[in-house]
């Protein structure tokens, strides 16, 4: 029994500490140990591999129970079956398709992403953002982000010297609940993205040249296939000098968003501040990109270095020991909700700003709505309880956008259908308004730490 407890302790220690690479050798009660000793060296090694066992939800303790009731032959078969699962999980050349065939004979193979030249417009217009308002002081009307004028082509952004270009990317491949495709439309239709902000008393709609650049085309049947188009379009927004404000869409687009901005500014010149409950660092997927793999891809493809990534709000099962270990080894500065509990939000917030300021000259802010607590945003694809409040997230986003040079922003994984109220969409717009305000503050030179207007905050 003591050995069992020792084995259990060893297993617990192996999971709890990041030192997964050197697992304790499992030991069993004598009768069971005899069955284990009879195994082939490969099978014995498998039984001793804590990480492999964890993949099956097993520990030496659990195995001891399973082995005790089985004959030696069945123990052998049991381990053989586990090893067969590992082997069979791998790609089998010859019987597995290594790729998903498309229909090259489709007569509109590329049509959804081919851009329409201006010469095919029925009517001529001068390039530049144009208003959809009928009235000087229009209420309602045709919804656009921040009630901004519309830009259809890159020339419109250039002609209008647009500083912030909103763009919807309605990809809908969340590995949780889906409906992110309705994010852009419902955030456009929701308030909260217009007017003065009370801490700074800055009104970004007055200070900045904004445009709503519409939505980008998506292949709704494959997360992989639309990304090159998104990346090109985001790059082409960024190279006009405008800051793309990307409204998702599930998290799989994040790779293309960030790669597009990095393409515009250059590798090593853009840091990533990622507010998200999930590290998105799954590196073993059978697809080359999904919402859970974007950080892993950014790192593996060398688009953003680990040391230039700051993550805030991690919690839930995806932030496991192995993942955090990998992130730490990559140099990623992560701040889990455990860190927030330990050190308090103010301290974490200050440290995030400090780390972002110490990194590359340009910053991309990635805001997955799951970073918020479900009480603040229920309509989210992969919600995790225990997240940030609006009073924590909003000031941090505003500060990031005022105190660092933000060149791109994304708001990801809304699932509005899950929230029958206005709360999620208003929260999303409020977060975007916070960044918009920060960018306007920076333009006005209000970049001191945690700036608040004395008229409003009482001489802070």
């Amino acid at each position: 029994m003591n050995r069992l407890i020792a084995a259990l302790f060893a297993a617990t220690a192996a999971v709890a500490s990041p030192a997964i690479a050197s697992p304790a050798i499992a030991t069993f009660p004598p009768e069971t140990q005899a069955k284990v000793d009879a195994l082939s060296p490969e099978k014995k090694a498998f039984v001793d591999d804590a990480a492999a066992l964890a993949g099956f939800g097993l520990t030496p303790d659990k195995l001891a129970v399973e082995f005790a009731k089985r004959s030696a032959a069945d123990v052998d078969a049991y381990v053989g079956a586990l090893m067969a699962v590992v082997a069979d999980s791998k790609f089998q050349p010859g019987s597995d398709a290594g790729e998903i065939a498309l229909n090259p004979n489709a007569s509109n193979f590329n049509a959804s992403t081919v851009l329409r030249p201006a010469m095919f417009d029925k009517l001529w217009r001068e390039p530049g953002p144009f208003s959809l308002d009928r009235y000087m002081y229009q209420k309602g009307g045709i919804p656009t982000f921040a009630h901004a004028p519309v830009a259809i082509r890159r020339e419109d952004l250039i002609a209008g010297k647009v500083e912030v270009a909103f763009v919807g990317v309605p990809a809908d491949f969340s590995s949780g609940w889906r409906d992110a495709k309705h994010g852009p439309a419902l955030l456009r239709a929701m308030g909260g993205l217009v007017g003065s902000e009370v801490d700074s008393l800055v009104n970004p709609n007055v200070e900045l040249r904004l445009a709503d650049y519409g939505n980008l085309a998506i292949d709704y049947m494959a997360p992989e296939r639309g990304l090159d188009h998104i990346q090109m379009m985001i790059r082409d927004i960024a190279t006009t000098g405008a800051v793309p404000f990307i409204v998702g869409g599930d998290h799989s687009i994040s790779f293309a968003d960030i790669a597009g901005v990095v393409a515009a500014y250059g590798k090593g010149t853009v840091g990533l501040v990622q507010l998200d409950a999930h590290p998105e660092d799954d590196e073993e997927g059978d697809h080359r990109i999904t919402d859970r793999q974007t950080t892993a891809r950014l790192l593996s493809d060398g688009i953003v270095a680990g040391k230039d990534i700051v993550q805030i709000g991690l919690r839930g099962p995806a932030a496991d020991a192995a993942t955090l270990k990998r992130l730490r080894d990559e140099g990623v500065r992560y701040h889990t909700m455990a860190a927030v509990a330990e050190r308090g939000w103010e301290a974490v917030s200050d440290q995030v700003i400090e780390q972002a300021r110490a990194g590359p000259a340009n910053v991309f802010v990635s805001f997955d709505m799951s970073v918020l607590d479900p009480s603040a945003a229920a309509g989210v694809g992969r919600p995790v309880p225990g997240g940030l409040t609006m009073r924590e997230a909003t000031p941090l986003v505003r500060r990031l956008c005022a105190e660092t040079r933000v060149v791109g922003f994304e708001l990801l994984d809304p699932a509005p259908v899950l929230d029958p109220t206005y709360q999620t969409t208003m929260a999303g717009n409020t977060i975007m308004h916070a960044c918009l305000t920060g960018i306007a503050m920076r333009k006005k030179g209000l970049t001191q730490a945690d700036y608040a207007n004395a008229l409003s905050a009482g001489g802070k």
Partner: protein, 544 residues
């Protein structure tokens, strides 16, 4: 400016820090992976020079998709180069459409356009211009334009035409997967039996009490659970209900929760008052769990579903597949062809949509299963009966195609013209005549959204429960059912219980029909003489 093509594509030697992702880095050679992630399509580069926006906007409101696809040019290549496919792969299509209708150049423009180089003039005459501008719009332009402007305009159309079509070397004909992933097949690996305590094969009762009160585990129709084909065989199972939570629909998603919603909501299982038959008593029904799904690829999922559904059917059990989106109709009927032979099974397809879309980039989605089933010969067009169609499609051209296939479609227009009773009789009679084996593919959006708000692509003006239940019961009693599917339940769109309850009652209507048939109650529209009136007098005359 940084070259976007260098990001994320098949890099040369990976930097040391990239070794962690070798699974994908070494995944593929060749140009497909080389341009897969980041590469800027040359077509897109070209388009950016021209300027922006989507070709769909060009056709505007007045021109339909049919007109768009009518303007097809046969691509030079007909198969996906290098695609490794196992035996049951989706068949790549041949080009589908005839060349576009040529345009006639108005006499007043003849001399002006004669100045165009010969190739450009031929392009204008070919009608390929139709997808970019209607002939009248185009000619009006030409009247006002200089010859140089006309040439630029035609060249832009030729360029767009080139960009839109698949071009080998420029476009990827397939989506590469991460073949070095240790989890490549993990999503569909079966759990080895040896991990669990030994047990006799057969349906597993989850009940604890003699009185039949369950133990709190929710199963389809309150049925016992079967995990393996041996369980189905040992239990001589008549009906195996299986979930297939494929969630790639084009409207609202959430079909992923369809099987769960039907399991946790009542309404399936128990006595049917119309027949006074209790399917749970007459039939060996099991909950066969869920079929594994790759939620990032319908194409990958359907191959596995096809094999699983066929395996169920080969045990002699009737598979009832609870979706999941309507793509499932394709693997289900391909499986029936695998088991019973091609052309041996007829179909009744309940749906507000015709689902025979074609000529799309993806070989299967929830708008194409009917086309694909017919195209691959699993079911003959003449054995396809459709009930409840009323969505925006099909257009006239596609109705023509459906008639050419011999399909028997019954739209809500027919219901409006002739009444439900007549349409139901006609569809039931056709089902009996077509084949001696019948599959029912039941998309819950055939019902009015009043009854089924929780569905991905709802369309108003649909069937009522009092119309849908009798035809389900009748089809399942009066035909040899080889399987059914109930698809497109998206519970999050319905904050009430009614979508799941109604779906379960429709499931029970068919289970009842199958049980009635087993008892020999196959008379047309059989209703129980006991429950259909009190019988205290002779009010209705002789019993029906």
């Amino acid at each position: 400016v940084f070259d976007v093509c260098q990001i994320g594509d098949a890099r040369g030697p990976a930097p040391a820090s990239n070794a962690r992702f070798k699974a994908t880095n070494v995944a593929h050679n060749g140009r497909r992976s080389a341009r897969f992630f980041a590469a800027l399509l040359p077509a897109e580069r070209h388009a950016m020079r021209l300027t922006t926006s989507s070709v769909w906007a060009i056709v505007g409101g007045g021109v339909t998709l049919a007109a768009l696809v009518a303007a097809t040019v046969a691509p030079s290549q007909q198969t996906a180069p290098g695609a490794v496919r196992p035996g049951d792969a989706l068949a790549v299509e041949k080009p589908l459409y005839a060349p576009p209708e040529p345009v006639v150049i108005p006499t007043d423009l003849l001399s002006k356009l004669q100045a165009l180089p010969a190739g450009r003039l031929a392009f204008v005459k070919s009608g390929k211009t139709r997808r970019f501008a209607g002939p009248e719009t185009m000619f009006e332009r030409f009247r006002k334009a200089t010859p140089a402007e006309i040439l630029a305009y035609v060249d832009a159309m030729i360029s767009l035409e080139d960009q839109i079509q698949f071009k080998p070397g420029r476009d990827a004909a397939s989506i590469p997967l991460a073949v070095n992933s240790p989890r490549f097949n993990a999503w569909k690996i079966k759990r080895p039996a040896i991990l669990d305590p030994k047990r006799q094969p057969g349906p597993i009762e989850l009940g604890r009490y003699i009185g039949g009160y369950g133990s709190g585990f929710s199963t389809f129709a309150n049925a016992p659970v079967a995990l393996t084909l041996e369980d189905l065989k040992a239990g001589k199972v008549d009906v195996a209900i299986v979930g297939a939570p494929l969630d790639m629909g084009s409207g609202y998603r959430n079909a992923i929760d369809g099987p769960k919603a039907l399991r946790v909501t009542g309404g399936a299982g128990g006595n049917d008052m119309y027949s006074m038959v209790n399917p749970n008593r007459e039939l060996n029904i099991v909950d066969f769990g869920d079929i594994a799904i790759d939620q990032m690829s319908t194409e990958r999922s359907v191959e596995h579903i096809r094999a699983e559904v066929a395996a169920i059917a080969r045990t002699g059990a009737i598979p009832i597949v609870i979706g999941g989106d309507h793509s499932l109709e394709y693997p289900n009927l391909a499986a029936m062809a695998d088991v019973h032979g091609k052309g041996k099974v007829g179909v009744v397809h309940f749906d507000s949509h015709y689902d025979a879309g074609r000529d799309r980039v993806h070989l299967i989605d929830h708008g194409q299963p009917v086309y694909r089933v017919i195209h691959e010969g699993h079911v003959r067009g003449r054995d396809y009966i459709q009930v409840g169609l009323r969505a925006r499609s099909p257009d006239l051209e596609t109705f023509d195609w459906m008639r050419e296939q011999g399909m028997k479609y019954h739209t809500m227009v027919e219901v409006e013209a002739h009444g439900w009773e007549a349409v139901m009789e006609r569809a039931v009679a056709e089902a009996k005549k077509n084949t001696d084996k019948l599959w029912i593919s039941f998309d819950v959006d055939v019902l009015d959204p009043a009854f089924m708000p929780g569905t991905g692509t709802p369309v108003p003006g649909g069937l009522t429960m009092r119309e849908a239940q009798p035809i389900m019961r009748r089809l399942c009693a009066e035909n040899n059912i080889v399987g059914i599917d109930i698809v497109e339940v998206a519970p999050y769109l319905d904050t009430s219980y009614k979508t799941a309850l109604n779906s379960n009652f429709l499931l029970n209507a068919c289970l009842t029909g199958i049980a009635m048939r087993k008892k020999g109650l196959t008379a047309p529209h059989y209703l129980s003489p006991i429950s259909s009136e009190h019988g205290q007098d002779n009010y209705y005359g002789a019993p029906r």
